[in-house]
């Protein structure tokens, strides 16, 4: 299991060897993870990958079957939720419908022997923080979804928890509000410096908000890393496939940094796979570089180092997707397979790319990744 390479900050939350079984089904398998103080971490993965199970284990809502969890140096593995130190926001917001906004936010404050005035002051602060000061006397049903989500956040933060847990907080909102709230939450988190874990199945959300992303699949952590690490250097085929889009070709390793597709060879990023083994080569559509039509190109570039990764292709189909063109390219070097490439509108215009036309594309060596396995 990889913990992110030694970070300067000490671990605030340390999860080691966590397992969770539901009957015969293993929802978490030997999960270990450290999260630093003040970090914003996203658990990302398809539904059923175990990300919510992991969150609920951290919250003490579903106890793990094996393993330990330490928070701020304290072993919280067996503590009930009320003895832990976190605030939580659910997808449904779970606002109490019969209490006003201010009573909702004050809910966690009222039990302690705090003076009324102090509670009111704190509630005012929190409402100001989420920008809903004027709504204190309203009931949740009178607010929009985004406003409700912010109230839920304010309520969770009222008790100044050491850890903030967000369970798919944005998925019930429509797209525009979602994008807007992403920034707000991130901003708020930075301002308060609270260690935050967010569960999401939306990669865009994770990439835009998280300091680090924990990609999970089948109850296992596939990779932990910063958004760019995850995107640029996926460590597993699953991660590569799940984050962003990919072309995948079955290949055979033809030596260090060299692989064979059909009859020809390509250069690829460094790897430690043995020669002759089956592998899958991956390249993202955006990483494909257009070199214009073969007519005014250099034809074949045999012998040249990168020339191996230059491919003469035919544009089979073009699809306009607003910000770019998605092109489907065929080439004898790919056999019957199609290479999908995303080209900017500029490039298409400049290079005169058109359906049925011929063109040369480059597959940059460092962007061609290989992973073990067969398709």
């Amino acid at each position: 299991m990889q913990e992110a390479a030694a970070k300067p900050k000490p671990a605030y939350l340390r999860i080691s060897g966590l397992w969770k079984s539901f009957g015969d089904f293993l929802a978490l398998r030997d999960v270990s993870l450290s999260i630093a103080e003040g970090e914003f971490v996203c658990f990302l993965g398809p539904s059923g990958c175990g990300k919510t199970t992991l969150l609920r284990a951290i919250a003490g809502l579903d106890l793990q079957t094996r393993g330990t969890i330490h928070q701020a140096g304290r072993d919280i593995s067996g503590l009930p939720p009320s003895k832990r130190d976190y605030g939580i926001v659910f997808q449904s917001y779970a606002l109490f419908p019969n209490l006003t906004i201010e009573r909702n936010v004050a809910f966690g404050l009222e039990n302690s022997r705090r003076p009324r005035a102090e509670i009111d002051r704190r509630v005012g602060e929190l409402l100001a923080l989420v920008g809903l000061s004027g709504q204190a006397k309203k009931y949740p049903a009178q607010l929009s979804g985004g406003q409700q989500q912010r109230i839920a956040l304010a309520r969770a933060m009222a008790i100044s928890p050491g850890l903030l847990l967000l369970d798919e907080p944005l998925s019930a909102l429509d797209a525009k509000v979602r994008v807007h709230l992403r920034h707000e939450i991130k901003e708020l988190q930075r301002k308060l410096g609270v260690t935050t874990i967010m569960v999401t199945h939306d990669q865009e959300e994770a990439l835009s908000m998280a300091d680090r992303i924990v990609v999970m699949n089948h109850g296992v952590i596939e990779q932990v890393g910063t958004p760019t690490e995850i995107y640029r250097h996926p460590e597993t085929l699953f991660v590569a496939d799940f984050i962003g889009e990919t072309n995948q070709f079955p290949t055979r390793i033809a030596g260090q940094g060299r692989l064979a597709v059909e009859a020809t060879q390509f250069l690829c990023a460094p790897h430690d796979l043995p020669e002759g083994s089956d592998a899958i080569a991956v390249i993202r559509p955006v990483d494909v570089i257009p070199h214009g039509s073969a007519a005014h190109g250099s034809g074949t570039a045999e012998g040249a180092g990168t020339a191996e990764n230059l491919v003469d292709a035919t544009v089979e189909e073009m699809e306009f997707l607003g910000a770019f063109w998605r092109c489907r390219l065929s080439s004898p070097r790919f056999g019957s397979r199609i290479l999908v490439a995303d080209f900017s509108i500029n490039a298409v215009r400049r290079l005169g790319i058109e359906t049925g036309g011929a063109m040369q594309v480059e597959l940059p060596r460092e962007r061609v990744l290989v992973f073990p396995g067969k398709t």
Binding site: L63, R66, F90, S92, P97, E235
Partner: protein, 669 residues
């Protein structure tokens, strides 16, 4: 990147240290489970074992000697069993007994004459042998000598054992076992008629644009507010020998099947109507549009769209009605005449003959159809839910003058029936001496001059109903909350839920009888509540537990499951969430449960008829007892008091709901 381990490593799962809250919750759940075990499971178990408790004459227990005419020379001692083998004095049938049976000892001697000088000796072969000399108890293993005149009065007593004898004698006594057929027949006929009437009513109120729908809905609810005895009494005044409409009977007697069926239709109608009406109200307009576009006739549309769409509702209603009729006791008691029904048999066996064992046998037999109907209904209900969750476009009826008038006529007919039954009771209650002095007066309201408990019974009923409503609502809602909103403890919660569903399958008579067996046992530490108001409240709460539980559960299921985790994360005790959020949000359901319990506590007869005492007579039982004693007009008067009380309770409930909702449910809009 590691290759994931595939198997859970050995070791123990961590245990969550238990917060004080969890202790409180578990404590509450255990308390309420214990309530259901003590108020339901244990009594039923005791009753089942009682049905297997039999009495038989054990002839091996007795030894006899006979002297010669001088009274000095004795025959060899011989067991009664050996003597019986020789004389064939008692058949196997004769040896099966009730607790109360006696067998003359003279049967086992030849040529007995009470004037002869012959003397007799009797002894037991074991300590348990018992007999009577006249009415004085005797027994023991020492020889006892009698002259012939005294020996004439010696009666052997049976011993208790366990076995299926009671069931054997039940099925070999046609007077008893015929009741199975009778009950099933009455329930089937009543169900068919009730469903037809209720369907017509529900169809008219949901699928037409006829006027006065609100009024008819109100009228349809009337039968819920009165004990099932009341339609019986009304039928006596309508169709009895001095009835207003006796001519309509064409010589047939209202006492018996006809009365049972008419009365059953009356008291089961609202139940059937509510279920079918719900089924019809969720119709999908798209089906009708499709039918119209295919130019299907109205009649064809009805059979291909309407009826199949409501089929689960109809099946469910049919089972509910069937169960209500077959387990009802009040109505056949009043109007059944000589037509024996199972529920009345229990009463006759227990109250009339003190034959508790046979009462238990009939109870077990009555449990079978009730449980069957319950199981089928649960299955159907489950499938209905799936049907309801489909996305549908609500159907809006279009005006059609002829059809609307037809609907109105049908509703008016049913309303006249319902109001007529209530009206005739009120009239009978006010008439001084039907039919000889038809002037009006309040003579029949002088309950204190009748058997049945007088006005005290009425006030007791109100006290009982209020206590049932309050205690029941608290217990039921707390129990439902524990089932729905606690985590872990899954087996316990499932068992609790099963217990909570069980009362619906247990007829009131059976529950009441089970309570006698369980609570009226001096060895039971709960014995002191026998004969008190407490046992009536416990019994009534338990009897009506299921519907209340389901109501509470439905309300709780609609609440966000994340409230509890949120409150916990905010380090708030669960009771704070419970009282500040759960209860206020569920207030409408809570009020519904209270009024349901109140109304049913006012009208119930079947379970409490075995459990009331002198200090705790009830109005509903008073109706029964006054009718039983022939004071039918006062019985009608008391029945009407129950009706008016329930009407007032309903009004108060409606008012309270509106007030409370306006205040505490401002957020609902």
């Amino acid at each position: 990147m590691s290759v994931a381990a595939l198997a859970l490593p050995a070791g123990r799962a961590p245990r969550q240290s238990i917060a004080r809250d969890d202790l409180v919750k578990r404590g509450l759940m255990v308390a309420i489970s214990l309530y259901l075990v003590l108020s339901l499971a244990a009594p039923l178990y005791v009753m089942l074992s009682k049905s297997l408790s039999t009495y038989r004459f054990d002839l091996k227990q007795f030894e006899l000697q006979v002297s010669d005419a001088t009274g000095t020379v004795w025959s060899e001692p011989a067991s009664a069993e050996a003597l019986n083998a020789r004389l064939s004095a008692a058949t196997a049938d004769d040896l099966r007994a009730g607790s109360d049976s006696r067998l003359a000892a003279t049967k086992f001697v030849e040529d007995f004459s009470f004037r002869s000088p012959v003397r007799y000796r009797l002894r037991g072969t074991e300590e348990g042998a018992r007999w009577l000399v006249g009415s004085a108890p005797g027994g023991g293993t020492a020889w006892q000598e009698f002259d012939s005149n005294t020996f004439r009065r010696v009666m052997l007593r049976p011993v208790q054992s366990y076995g299926l004898d009671n069931f054997v004698s039940y099925f070999s006594t046609p007077a008893l076992s015929n009741s199975i057929r009778n009950s099933a027949l009455m329930a089937t006929i009543s169900t068919a008629i009730t469903i037809a009437v209720a369907f017509g009513l529900a169809y008219a109120l949901n699928r037409s644009t006829m006027p006065f729908k609100g009024f008819f809905r109100l009228v349809t609810a009337i039968p819920i507010l009165v004990p099932s005895l009341l339609p019986g009494i009304a039928l006596v005044y309508l169709f009895g020998n001095q009835g207003l409409l006796k001519g309509l009977m064409m010589g047939y007697s209202i006492y018996g099947p006809i009365g049972i069926v008419i009365g059953s239709v009356f008291f089961t109608l609202p139940h059937a109507f509510l279920i079918i009406s719900t089924a019809l109200s969720v119709a999908d307009a798209r089906h009708y549009e499709a039918a119209a576009s295919l130019r299907a006739s109205r009649w064809r549309t009805f059979w291909t769209v309407t009826v199949p769409g409501a089929r689960f509702g109809i099946v469910s209603a049919a089972f509910v009605v069937f169960t209500l009729v077959i387990t009802d006791f009040g109505l056949p008691k009043v109007i059944g005449g000589q037509y024996n029904m199972l529920a009345v048999d229990i009463y006759k066996q227990v109250i009339g003959q003190q034959n508790f064992e046979m009462g238990a046998v009939v109870s077990v037999i009555l449990l079978i159809p009730a449980v069957l109907a319950f199981v089928v209904d649960r299955i159907v209900q489950r499938r209905q839910v799936a049907l309801l969750s489909a996305r549908a476009v609500p159907y809006r009826p279009k005006p059609n003058r002829r059809f609307d008038m037809l609907c109105l006529a049908w509703c008016a007919f049913v309303a006249v029936f319902l109001v007529g039954i209530i009206g005739i009771c009120q009239l009978a209650a006010l008439v001084k001496l039907w039919p000889y002095d038809m002037s009006l007066g309040l003579k029949n309201y002088a309950f204190d001059l009748m058997d049945g408990g007088g006005w005290a019974a009425y006030w007791n009923s109100i006290e009982m109903a209020l206590l049932t409503a309050v205690v029941g609502t608290v217990v039921v809602f707390t129990g439902a909350y524990m089932v729905e909103k606690t985590k872990g403890f899954a087996t316990g919660r499932a068992a609790f839920h099963f217990l909570a569903m069980l009362p619906m399958a247990v007829p009131g008579m059976v529950l009441g009888l089970a309570y006698i067996f369980f609570f009226n046992n001096p060895a039971n530490p709960l014995n002191p509540i026998y004969g008190t108001m407490a046992i009536l409240v416990v019994c009534t709460v338990t009897h009506f537990y299921t519907v209340s539980h389901l109501t509470a559960l439905t309300a709780l299921k609609q609440m966000d499951a994340e409230f509890e985790p949120v409150a916990e994360s905010l380090r708030q005790p669960f009771h704070r969430l419970f009282f500040k959020v759960t209860v206020p949000v569920c207030l409408p359901a809570i009020l519904d449960i209270s009024i349901y319990l109140f109304v049913n506590a006012m009208t119930t007869v079947s379970a409490v008829v075995f459990l009331y005492s002198t200090q705790t007579q009830l109005a509903s039982v008073a109706v029964l007892n006054m009718d039983d004693a022939g004071d039918i007009a006062p019985a009608a008067a008391m029945g009407m008091m129950i009706f008016y009380t329930n009407v007032v309770a309903r009004l108060v409930h409606a008012l309270l709901s509106r007030l409370l909702l306006a205040r505490s449910q401002a957020w609902r809009r």
